[in-house]
Amino acid sequence: MAQIQPIFEKILDGSGSATSEAWVDLGLIPTGKQIWFGYATFAGETKQFSFEVRTNKLTKSAGTVTDTTLHDYSNVTQASVDRDFYQYGNILMQSIVSTGTEHFWLRIRSKTSASGDYSYILYYTEY
């Protein structure tokens, strides 16, 4: 079987401030489509943050641990970290096929409650 060689041509970026936890809605997954994650850069600009890439379980839409599946976890302090979700085709990191309600998310957490700044850029495709 021929291996699909994707081009992760879609880019999402953002920034914000958070204390100990924040959920960033990366968007609704279109009906019948899956998100295929390629790469990301996450930055804890002013303090320690962890970043969780999550997608909703089938028919769920809320940004909660219960209603989402964790795909990737990383942590960084006052720097950025690059994440490779593709690994030359050896990892298939995808959402469920959307029924029209599911979203994909970033769950951002910190060990400290002081406000800090984060930013991210995510490369992915839909198919």
């Binding site: 994707p6 880019i11 850069t41 950025s80």
Partner: protein
Amino acid sequence: MGKPSGGGQSPFNLVINGTSNISSAKELWVDLGLIPNGQQYQIGKFSFTPLDSALGCEIRTNNNGKSSANLNDTTLLGKGVAKAGTSLIIDLWKNGRLYITTVLSTGVEHFWFRFYSKTNVTTEIIWNVNYLELI
């Protein structure tokens, strides 16, 4: 040269090297140059080293018909945040799995580095970018 296919070699044969200084400021825009009319660049990778202070770096292209260095008139293509004295390489090629390009120029658009910090910083920055002309 057309859009690359999987796993092939893409010769990012163009390079710009530079040194910049940010002085008691939160932001510095570095003009990487005017994209000639009818041309489009593909970015392979960029690297930066803030010698004296932690710093973020974004590579951006002007939006169609724009030429100013500001967030509204540009699109983010890649970014990283480096600690003081640390080099960071951002790979925007990923062996052909990424296809990060500037706007197709109408003769006015530039591409840029935006160096930034949340507080005023003073630092020397060594940087470079490798890219190619698509058209």
